[in-house]
Symmetry: C3
Subunit: 424 residues, 3 copies
Amino acid sequence: MKTVSFSLALFAVAVSTRLALSEPNKPVKTTPLKQVLIDVDTNLGIKNWSVSADGRGTDHRWSITKDVLHGGRQEGVDRIRVDNGVLSFDVIPTRGMNIWDVDCGDLSLGWDSPVKEVVHPQFVNLRERGGLGWLEGFGGWMCRCGLASNGAPGEDRVRSNTGSIVPVQLTLHGKVNYLPARSVTVEVTDDDPPVLKVRGVIDETMMFGTQLRLTAEISTVVGSKSLTLSDTITNLSADEQEFQTLYHTNFGSPLLEGGSKFLAPAARVTPRDPRAAEGPLSKWNEYLPPTPGYNEQVYFLKLLGDEQNRTEIMLENAAGTRGVSLLYSLTDLPHTTLWKNTAPVANGYVTGLEPATNFPNLREFERENGRVPRLKKGESHHATITFTIHTDAKGVGEARSRIHGLQGDTRVQIDEAPVPGLSP
Amino acid sequence: MKTVSFSLALFAVAVSTRLALSEPNKPVKTTPLKQVLIDVDTNLGIKNWSVSADGRGTDHRWSITKDVLHGGRQEGVDRIRVDNGVLSFDVIPTRGMNIWDVDCGDLSLGWDSPVKEVVHPQFVNLRERGGLGWLEGFGGWMCRCGLASNGAPGEDRVRSNTGSIVPVQLTLHGKVNYLPARSVTVEVTDDDPPVLKVRGVIDETMMFGTQLRLTAEISTVVGSKSLTLSDTITNLSADEQEFQTLYHTNFGSPLLEGGSKFLAPAARVTPRDPRAAEGPLSKWNEYLPPTPGYNEQVYFLKLLGDEQNRTEIMLENAAGTRGVSLLYSLTDLPHTTLWKNTAPVANGYVTGLEPATNFPNLREFERENGRVPRLKKGESHHATITFTIHTDAKGVGEARSRIHGLQGDTRVQIDEAPVPGLSP
Amino acid sequence: MKTVSFSLALFAVAVSTRLALSEPNKPVKTTPLKQVLIDVDTNLGIKNWSVSADGRGTDHRWSITKDVLHGGRQEGVDRIRVDNGVLSFDVIPTRGMNIWDVDCGDLSLGWDSPVKEVVHPQFVNLRERGGLGWLEGFGGWMCRCGLASNGAPGEDRVRSNTGSIVPVQLTLHGKVNYLPARSVTVEVTDDDPPVLKVRGVIDETMMFGTQLRLTAEISTVVGSKSLTLSDTITNLSADEQEFQTLYHTNFGSPLLEGGSKFLAPAARVTPRDPRAAEGPLSKWNEYLPPTPGYNEQVYFLKLLGDEQNRTEIMLENAAGTRGVSLLYSLTDLPHTTLWKNTAPVANGYVTGLEPATNFPNLREFERENGRVPRLKKGESHHATITFTIHTDAKGVGEARSRIHGLQGDTRVQIDEAPVPGLSP
């Protein structure tokens, strides 16, 4: 917190009020545009704000809208809707800069979670239900898991204030999914077409503990069917620190359906546990329709990349006419997990594609197996994922070809049982 | 969450502002009236709103007022004050649609809790003090205990995401007392006299866990001394689910005083523990004045009903000139608990009348003894309680007669000690 | 909660709006001035408010400004900036009436915590990391530790609702640091120069548990370099209750630097643990510059007072040209702890001067050793600390002389190892 003069605070209120109440809303017409919406250091928190292509003498249709959610467990959640004219999605600063509803024409990504609200962190206790409290607000399309830890809940050991090593109970998937952004900036570039950007900064910090900062930028080119996530995690401490990050990207109907397929250039596929080994393993990458009594099946993947170690994975529908592919670097995110949960719709019919620094096991196990990266003082980790939506068979086919190209002649090894070192 | 256009959000703000700032407030004069105050699906959260009989050309005086509480641990709590001209009470959407202060002329129900605020869920950690965190916000007249569980804190077993059975630590009386309503609607019927209704919907949901929805309607006829609670609990999951509900209805001074009596048509009265067995059991249904060193005494009741299995219970003051009776169905709420806590006023001088689906023991024990009901997919449980305030000896006497009528010739069995199967 | 008429709520909104938006802000010109800013009982929560010496025809410059913090984990935190013309500081009603940034000319007190926000209680779970969740919002200059307990986390035993003695897990330093004020009043006296006062009331209460009320008054004389904290802790219960209070007063750069000194009239200095015993003990009261790998060193102090049992302690910089001294009564606060944490700046370079009712060990240990005071029904404990900033060698020297005077001929006993009864 910095001291802020009263006049500045008044100004913030005035701006917010003007933007919220003026009708019609008259945005500044200059481009490029840069607007700070939230900022701890200047004590700024604009509740309602909007900008669009209107009146800018351009053929492109786009808009960015900031508002606040109301009602139930979503009371007070900040939301930024980005609409590039073709693709629109919600960024949630209050929930780790996660991405909620994604729409592209009549295709919606995301899934129908049993949790119908964008739950505010104030209503979630991560320690609930044996450390599974994270699931009380689990919904939306893409949520990060991290930063100090992700994966299964359970005991690990950390250094305490006195310097001794003490046990701690880690909770499922860490904290960042429930941390609010300390700074949010919206940018529109003067490219043609323009690029829409939302950038947020999140501190996962405490005294005598984690000191990691996430800078997350979500960008999309106006008129495109792609969005790019570009994350930087920085060690703010004077000491070396571990970190973990996993991109829990979730798809339900309509992309997920009986006969949908997951495509990836894979060297090895390993079932996490006996349940996953039930497979059938020959159909590890195919999906059932909503299935009563289905228990989740999780596969750990060793993927193949190009000469720059970049890979592409895709979920496509049964007809192969729609899909979403993810492009990312295996250098940054070496481990990918596939989560299949083709349960009945009411219980959450969903699959998760999860590029990560690690597999989502308990951190202690991941550390023992060399999958918990470390950052030196001031050092940063970068990861970029580009999501592209394919809305016809041609687009799906091209992505499939690229993935087959990455697979090349390599035969995928499908393990018949969990493998020591990969599963606890 | 659904996507809401900016204009709708602006509209919501405008409505709220107009209603809050216009002076005098000019309500719509049409009746029947229906107003949505909170709604997740349309992202609506009206902070201040009011409607009254004024200008409607009617003899009836009534009003409904929505505002937000401020200060301390009650910051941000929504409140709806319903005044039927004779009886007024607060409904608290932020706290499980509970009912706080009730006033009928110079008679106030409720009690003077050590907790002087309507504590917002953000300030309560249910896991505090060995799972007794619920008590940090315990106050008010009627609070529900449930929905997945109620009763004592402790270990039970549930199904995890992987399908395995895992231990969980349940907290006292469950979560619904600290869950905010996702939807709140106010209605005024065009009956003569009109009926005032507040209806709220609360989701107790998570991924891989509880998926229960409570729809709670509180209604009162203008000019009456009664209010009716009508609850529906629905299983939103594709699987069968357990649930529990208990209506923790609390009375302090002036209705509770030395010599006050609890009246019920009882077949059997069982002390919960040795402390309750100390009684004296002959006075199990009589109250002491505030008593230093008094420890709570809890009795489990088997009540008698009429041919439709409906029962009536009452708390009356020492002089028998004032009382409150509860009418409900033993089919819906088969188990009733009496909680006597005639401690010093400063510590909470209070008694709880608690109709429920079960006794407030640990859920595992209740399940073993067949007192945890189950709902199939899509199935609902209904419960209705009508509370009537008696403000003179005649009203109290009539209720007493009805209760004696239900008792009939049945002699009450008063157990001298806790009974296996009823108490752990 | 009391019922508040709608018109009063409207009035509160109107006041808040007027004060926030009117430009220029026209305060009432009368002195003395008394303004309630937050009040549970009348449901008042003024967000923005300000008053200053402007237009009062006085030579004194001063102002008091109330606003609300925004962004990240500080969203919704109330702040009151008090500026006496020479000394300014923030009082945080949402965080136990703690004092954050303190500025006197170019000298800032406080420290650069790894936590850069004034974290709102909604984002803190005290049970995190083995009961060290308190550290997730640890920052600022002066924070209280208490009221039911302070010190190390761990198990203690309390009386439950049934009257039995049950184990509870206490969390680091108790709850008051994360409890919001239920009432806040600002006063400006008509003295010449005037005294600026902020008074807050905080309830640490629950049913069947702690029932303590803190009334905290922070005052400063216009134009002075001093501020006085005057606390009253009252037992609201009908039963005798324990309490604990500790004033965690934290200093970083520039006052803390290599060669800074802590001065106190000490009869005995005892290292808390082997790490503190490493000292070197001859330099127990001298400070290192930021030091990689440094683990905290904690010393328990037995101080000397004057004939009224009042003592004075001071932190001075290396050159002896700047310092802060604390004056308080050893009758009220008999035990003082010195916390040295000369870690690298990024990790929190800080020292804590901590007058208290006890040493910050687990409460059970403190009780066994007679350092947990008790309050009878209705009884109160008072403590007053006056902080004075010295901005030149003369002021530092005079304070040093006073401290030497208190030391007199008493030789300080420096224990070479932890002492049973002082450390567990």
